[in-house]
C-alpha cells in the first residue's frame, strides 16, 4: 500500500474540510438557546412570538390539522394525491398574491409549483433562471436577506446589488434606487421585496412602486418578488400585495416566491409556492414542466402535510376568515411593540432619533446599531440580534420592552 493511501486510511477523505462559518441568523438562535440568563431576549430569527414570548400555533392551523387527521380519504391518498394537493395549494396561493379575480389566475397563464417555503421557491427560480438565461445576473436590494446571495450563487447565477437603504435617513434611497434600475443592462433580473423588506422594514410607497414598475417596463427588466411577509406589513393581505398588483396592472410577466412560514406560522413545515407568469397557457405548461424537472432532481416534492394544511385553510371560507383575523392580530401586536419601544427610548431621553422604529414596517427594525453596540447588547444584556443591527420586533413583549429600551439606551447614550 502506498504511503499516500496509508495516510488516507489514517486521516480519511475529509481531513482537509475546514469548519464552515455559522449562519448569521440561525447562529444567533443557537447562541440564545445556550444562554442561561433569565433576562435573555431573542431578537434574531424572524419568527413570531406572542406577548408571553411564546411561539404560536394559529387556531386556524389547529382547526385544519384536526380536519386532516380525521379525514381517511386524505390520509390514505398520501402519495397518490400529492399532485392534486399540490395543484390546490398553487391555485389558492396565486389567488392570494395576485388577487382572486386577476386575469392570470382566471386564464391560467402562469406556471405554478408548490415549493419548500420561500427558500425553496427562490432556489427553484434561481436554477430555472440559470438554465434558460445563463448569462444573466440577479440584482438584490442592498441590504437583503443574507441567504439570497447564497441561493443564487449555489445556482451559479452571478449576484449584483442595487441601492436601497439610506443609512442616514434610515429610509428608502429612492433616487439612487431608480438610478441603479436605469443603469443596469436592459432585461436584467431583479429581486424585489413587495412589503416588509427584510432586514430594513423600509418599503417604497405605492407611488414609488409605480415609478419602479414604469422604469422596469422601459428597461424590460424581469421582476421577481420574494413574498415572505404578506399580511405582516399592514395587517391586510391585499394591501401588502399592492406592489405585485401594480406590476400586474402594468403588464409585467413577473415571478413570485411565496412563503407561508410567517403568516401561517408554519415555519417548520416548509410550505411555499413559486409562480412564473407566462404569455399564454401553452408556455405555462412548458415552464412548469421545466420547474418540475428541477425539483425532481433536488427533492421530488415538498412534504404533503404542510401543503394540505395551507390548502385546507385557504379553500375553506370560515377557516380562511379566521386566518385573516389572526394575521391582523399578529401584525397589530408588532406595531404595538414598535410604538412602545420608541416611546420608551424617547422617555429615557435618548440622544438619538428613533422615529424609524415606527416608520419601518413588518417584523424587523433596522435599528442602526453598530456591530460593536450589538456585541455589547449580547454580552452585557443577553439580548440577541444579528450584527447588522436587525431586530425582530416579534421577539419584543410588554414584559421585556423596558429592559430592551434600557439596554439600547445604555449602549447608545455616549456616542
Amino acid at each position: 500500500m502506498s504511503t499516500s493511501t496509508k495516510a488516507l486510511n489514517r486521516l480519511g477523505w475529509w481531513d482537509r474540510v475546514s469548519p464552515a462559518s455559522k449562519d448569521p441568523i440561525t447562529g444567533v438562535t443557537e447562541a440564545f438557546l445556550a444562554d442561561t440568563n433569565p433576562h435573555k431576549i431573542n431578537l434574531g430569527v424572524g419568527a413570531y412570538r406572542d406577548d408571553e414570548g411564546k411561539p404560536v400555533v394559529l387556531q386556524c392551523v389547529r382547526n385544519a390539522e384536526a380536519k386532516i387527521a380525521g379525514c381517511d380519504f386524505i390520509n390514505v391518498g398520501r402519495e397518490s394525491n400529492a399532485t392534486a394537493v399540490g395543484s390546490k395549494l398553487v391555485e389558492e396561493s396565486v389567488k392570494l398574491a395576485y388577487g382572486k379575480d386577476a386575469n392570470v389566475v382566471k386564464e391560467g397563464t402562469l406556471a405554478g409549483l408548490q415549493a419548500l417555503s420561500g427558500t425553496g421557491a427562490c432556489r427553484l427560480f434561481a436554477e430555472f433562471q440559470r438554465r434558460f438565461h445563463p448569462e444573466s445576473p440577479i440584482y438584490f436590494p442592498d441590504p437583503t436577506w443574507p441567504n439570497h446571495p447564497n441561493i443564487w450563487r449555489d445556482a451559479q447565477v452571478p449576484v449584483r446589488t442595487f441601492q436601497y437603504y439610506h443609512p442616514v435617513s434610515k429610509g428608502l434611497n429612492f433616487a439612487a434606487l431608480m438610478d441603479d434600475i436605469k443603469n443596469a443592462p436592459d432585461a436584467s433580473f431583479f429581486l424585489l421585496h413587495p412589503c416588509a423588506h427584510n432586514p430594513t422594514g423600509v418599503d417604497p410607497t405605492a407611488e414609488q412602486w409605480r415609478e419602479i414598475s414604469y422604469q422596469f417596463k422601459v428597461k424590460s427588466h424581469f421582476p421577481f418578488f420574494d413574498v415572505a411577509y404578506q399580511g405582516f406589513a399592514s395587517g391586510d393581505l391585499d394591501m401588502d400585495a399592492q406592489a405585485i398588483r401594480i406590476f400586474l396592472e402594468d403588464g409585467h410577466l413577473i415571478g413570485c416566491a411565496q412563503s407561508f412560514a410567517k403568516n401561517m406560522g408554519l415555519y417548520g413545515h416548509r410550505v411555499g409556492c413559486l409562480s412564473v407568469l407566462c404569455a399564454d397557457a401553452k408556455q405555462a405548461v412548458a415552464v412548469k414542466s421545466q420547474l418540475q424537472q428541477i425539483a425532481r432532481a433536488m427533492y421530488s416534492n415538498p412534504p404533503i402535510h404542510g401543503l394540505l394544511l395551507v390548502s385546507t385553510i385557504l379553500s375553506d371560507p370560515e377557516t380562511k376568515a379566521l386566518w385573516v383575523k389572526e394575521v391582523k392580530v399578529m401584525a397589530n401586536r408588532i406595531q404595538q411593540m414598535r410604538s412602545t419601544l420608541r416611546e420608551s427610548l424617547e422617555k429615557l431621553a435618548s440622544p438619538l432619533n428613533w422615529e424609524h422604529i415606527t416608520k419601518q414596517v413588518g417584523m424587523f427594525c433596522f435599528s442602526g446599531l453598530t456591530a460593536d453596540q450589538v456585541d455589547r447588547l449580547v454580552r452585557e444584556f443577553h439580548i440577541y440580534l444579528t450584527r447588522d443591527g436587525r431586530m425582530s420586533m416579534a421577539g419584543v413583549t410588554t414584559s421585556n420592552v423596558s429592559y430592551l429600551a434600557n439596554a439600547i439606551h445604555e449602549v447608545t447614550r455616549y456616542n
Binding site: 477523505w13 475529509w14 481531513d15 398520501r78 402519495e79 419548500l116 434558460f132 441567504n147 404569455a279 421545466q290
Partner: protein, 476 residues
Amino acid sequence: MRQQFTSLEAHGFESPTTQSAFSSSISSSSATDRRLKALARHLVDASPVMDSHSQNPNDTVSPSPTSSAFHADSVFAHIVRAPEDPILGVTVAYNKDPSPVKLNLGVGAYRTEEGKPLVLNVVRQAEQQLVNDRSRVKEYLPIVGLAEYNKLSAKLILGADSPAIQENRVTTVQCLSGTGSLRVGGEFLARHYHQLTIYIPLPTWGNHPKVFTLAGLSVKTYRYYDPATRGLDFQGLLEDLGSAPSGAIVLLHACAHNPTGVDPTIQQWEQIRQLMRSKALLPFFDSAYQGFASGSLDADAQPVRMFVADGGECLVAQSYAKNMGLYGERVGALSIVCKSADVASRVESQLKLVIRPMYSSPPIHGASIVATILKDRNLYTEWTIELKAMADRIISMRQQLFDALRARGTPGDWSHIIKQIGMFTFTGLNSEQVAFMTRQYHVYMTSDGRISMAGLSSRTVPHLADAIHAAVTSFA
C-alpha cells in the same frame, strides 16, 4: 421577442436633477394624475398633454410601455416542454385509461391486496399523538433537522452498537427522503471531495444520474445486471470497479436494487468491499428499502454495516418513504461516516452550507412521526411487524406470479421472479412486449420491463400472467 423601447434618455429625460425637478412639480395632484402625467411626458407624439420636454415629432411612437394594450413577450418564451418523467408518466397514462381491468405496475409505491395505498397503523398512532400534544409548536427545525430523529436514523441503519456512532464519527442530517439525501450528499462531494466522478450501476433508478449531474458530479456506469441470467454480472462489476480511478465515488444500492431486484450475496458484498477499500473507492449507499426487502431491518442493513465495520468512511442516504409508507412526507437522512469526531463535526458544518441555500431547513412533520415511532418500544415493535407483513405480501406475489407462469407453460425461465428481491422485478420483457401488454391487456409498467410487485394482488396475478404469456408467445 422583446420589443425595444426608446429609452427615457432619448426623450431628453436624463438626469437625477431633472428627475427631482419633475417630482417636486407634481406634489398637488392625485396619485393617478401624477402617474398619467409622468407617462404623458414620455410620449413623443404631438398630444395636447405633451410639454416642452419632448423633442422629436418624427420619431416612431412606441406604445406606452404601461398601457394596458401592451404585453411584453415572456423572457421564457423560448422554453420547450420538458419530457415527462418516464416513471411518473406511466401513472399518468394509467390514469387516462378507462379499462376496468387496468393494472398499474409502474411507480414503486406499496399497495394492499385491495390495491389501495396503505397508511401504517403506527403512523396513524404517531400522528394522533402529535396532534393531541398541544405543547407542540411549528418552529423552524435546525438546518440539520430534528436531532432526535437524526440519532435514531443513524442507529437504525448502522446498528445501535455501531462503533462509528459510539465514537461520534457519524454526522447525520435530516433530508427530503432519498432524493434529497442523495442531492445534498452529491453537492457536498462536488465541493469538498477530490474525485468528482460517481459510478452508478447499470441499470439504476432513472433519477440517479440527474440528481448527481445537477449536484456537479460526472456520472459513469459500472456493469451490474446480466440480461442473459437476469441476475448479477459479478465479473463485469468487479472489472469495472477495478478499473475505476482511485478515489472514485461508487453508488451502491444497499438492498433491493432498483429496478432489477438483483442483490449481491453476502460473499459477493465482501469481495466488493475488499476491492473498493484496496482502490480507495468511496462508497455512497442508497438505502431506500431497509426492512422492505427481506422483512428484517438488520438483514437489509448488512452490506452497509460491513463497510462501516472495517473502519472506513462512507455516505448513506436513507429513505422512510417505503418502509414507513411516508412517501409524501419526504422523510430521509444523509449520514457521513468519518474517520474521527472532529472531522465529522467539520463535515456537518459544511453540509449546513449546502442545505441553507436549498431550502433553509427540513420539514418537521414526517421526521416527528418517525422519531415518535423509533423511540417508543411498542410502536417500534409494531412497526417491524407491519413492515414484515408488507415484505411478506410482496414475496408472496412473486411466488404466485412464478407459479402462474409455470402453470401456463409460458416459455422461458422465470425463476428470477422469485430470486429477485424487493419491490421490483426486472422481467426481461423488451419494450415491444411491454407496449403490447399495455395496448392489449392494459398493463402499465416502464418500458425497461420493470414491474412493481407491490402493485399486484392475488386477484390480479392471473391477468398479468396472461399478459406476459401472450406477449412472450407473440413476440419471441
